[in-house]
């Protein structure tokens, strides 16, 4: 099958781009890993609309209903529960739905595959019942799952506070909150004037904080958090005021911000830019969201973290850029102005500089015995030792340790390896490259690949 545009991801950016492109008459296919549209932010929104969970998820969640409805009505072909496992020039996309591989072509590709939580290794992070805050929120949105027992949250950023609020709304309890955020620096406060325009959002954040303080223990100014237990999490320990503290815990939820999903753009050899403040790589994009490669666009958090409102706008902008380039719209600039897309994006991003300065990624030294690569169980010490015997090249460390060679293909250890190489070689982190990402983008079976032998156009 052949399309004008293949959009990967049915979150805010992908959906809004699809709606725009369809309105302009483009032939659009939207491919998404999830079984229903909404992305992680609006996950399960159609099903949850009638659920008792819905009111507890808050106002922002409810705002996704209209976008999902517009997407459903847009006439874009929609492939849920589908993984894109390779993209070749041209563009040729290779997909698998329910174990059946297929091949489609598109004149342009829009990557709207969002973000993932920043992996931050610490002692015990591989223990059962240690998971991310985002994971817990997804469980809440899919099946209304609430954690039971002594729930601890450790981390920083708006998401833990939002999740905590949602949990409390549903009658859940939190045993304690280990706040890893550093005191706001002057640089963060300097950016406040811009942020004031979004005062509504800020006030909500403060309300979350107050609620959390009221519900349990709020711990600040600690170090060396460890999750411990035999076969699963049993207790947490940390260092504070010169003393080691220890509490019983059944679930630990961690969160240190989100980073763009870059495996696709890295595999496609797009240029990337290192964001020093937030410690992540993002593809270099022009004002329409086009990468360094013609007809390959990125929208939403995959192009740099901006949140769902900014993602929605960037999806529309990329849609217009693609339509202009493919000759589907003659006047993309006029359409961009008419829809006030730049003003809307600026508004959506108003709070971002403040948040970015307030929540820098943690840069504490990893102990040698901490597992950095969950899949292959490679420790920070093993990576350091390999790094001392190699140039500051992640490929050399990967070859020497198998770090990044497991099924997650480096999605959990990439930044850790980069940081450890920088540490060993005395370089700024941004000067060390990321893993070289190899296909397939997702581990598909040999049978699925072999089946393409007789598939149309697979030659």
């Amino acid at each position: 099958m052949s399309y004008d545009v293949a959009i990967i991801g049915a979150g805010p950016a992908g959906m809004s781009a699809a709606v725009r492109l369809r309105a302009l008459g483009a032939a659009v296919i939207v491919i998404d890993e999830q079984p229903a549209p909404g992305g992680q932010i609006f996950r399960g929104i159609e099903r949850n609309a009638a659920s008792p969970v819905f009111p507890a998820l808050g106002e922002d969640y409810a705002k996704g209903c209209a976008l999902v409805a517009a997407f459903r009505a847009s006439g874009a072909e929609y492939l849920p529960s589908t993984q894109v496992w390779q993209i070749e020039d041209g563009w040729n996309l290779f997909l698998t739905t329910e174990r059946k591989a297929r091949h489609i072509t598109a004149r342009a590709v829009l990557l709207a595959n969002g973000a993932q939580e920043r992996p931050v290794p610490f002692p015990g992070w591989t223990l059962p019942n240690v998971m991310t805050v985002g994971a817990a929120q997804i469980l809440l949105k899919s099946g209304g799952m609430l954690p039971e027992g002594r729930i601890w949250i450790a981390g920083a950023g708006p998401l833990p506070l939002l999740y905590a609020t949602q949990l409390l709304n549903l009658g859940g309890r939190i045993a304690g909150y280990l706040d890893t955020a550093t005191t706001p620096k002057l640089s963060a406060l300097a950016r406040l004037p811009g942020a004031w325009r979004e005062f509504g959002n800020l006030a909500k954040g403060l309300r979350w904080l107050r609620d959390v303080r009221r519900s349990g223990m709020m711990i600040k100014g600690f170090s060396d958090l460890r999750a411990e237990g035999e076969e699963r999490l049993e207790h947490l320990t940390w260092e504070a005021a010169g003393k080691r503290h220890r509490v019983e815990a059944d679930v630990l939820l961690v969160h240190e911000g989100v980073v763009p999903r870059i495996h696709e753009t890295l595999a496609l050899r797009c240029e990337h830019i290192w964001n020093e403040e937030q410690g992540y790589l993002a593809p270099k994009l022009d004002r329409w969201g086009q990468t360094s490669r013609k007809d390959l666009f990125v929208a939403g958090d995959a192009g740099g973290i901006g949140g769902w409102m900014a993602a929605t706008v960037s999806g529309e902008i990329a849609a217009l850029g693609i339509a202009g380039q493919l000759g589907i719209a003659a006047n993309p600039d006029d359409l961009r102005q008419a829809a006030h897309l730049d003003q809307r994006r600026a508004r959506a991003l108003a709070l971002r500089p403040f948040l970015d300065a307030l929540y820098p990624p943690p840069r504490t030294r990893l102990a040698d015995d901490v597992i950095a690569c969950r899949c292959e169980e490679v420790t920070a010490g093993a990576i350091r030792s390999a790094a001392r015997n190699s140039p500051a090249d992640p490929s050399a460390v990967k070859a020497a340790t198998r770090c990044g060679m497991g099924p997650c293909q480096g999605r959990q250890c990439g930044y850790t390896v980069q940081a450890l190489l920088a540490e060993v070689h005395g370089l700024p982190i941004g000067d060390v490259s990321f893993f070289h990402i190899r296909p397939p983008l997702k581990p598909i079976t040999l049978g699925e690949i072999a089946s393409l032998e007789h598939a149309e156009g697979a030659a």
Partner: protein, 99 residues
């Protein structure tokens, strides 16, 4: 360690699934990875050290939720919604491929 808010006394579950042969209640919209968190010892065992692992990210990037779903091994459980009668088995150590 997790329980659905939809679970109330007298309200039957949306469906039953089989986890390592045991009938287990499940709820519409939840994924295989979510079920793994509710059944004791349903996690996978690492093919390297053999240690127990449970789902970590729920969004398709950590691969800790790999399980055998309806006979298909190394399935990312967090991407598969439950279906009535679904057979979910733990993947322990390096996977076996059937003859």
């Amino acid at each position: 360690m997790f329980k659905s808010v939809l679970e109330r006394p007298g309200v039957p579950p949306d469906m039953m699934v089989l986890v390592n042969g045991v009938e287990t209640p499940a709820w519409d919209g939840e994924t295989v990875a979510s079920v793994l968190l509710r059944v004791p010892d349903a996690g996978r065992r690492s093919p390297i050290s053999g240690t127990l692992r449970l789902p970590y990210c729920q969004m398709g990037v950590c691969f800790e939720c790999l399980a055998i779903v309806d006979g298909i091994a190394s399935t990312q459980g967090c991407l598969v919604p439950v279906q009535p009668g679904m057979r979910i088995e733990s993947q322990r150590g390096p996977r076996e491929i059937s003859r």
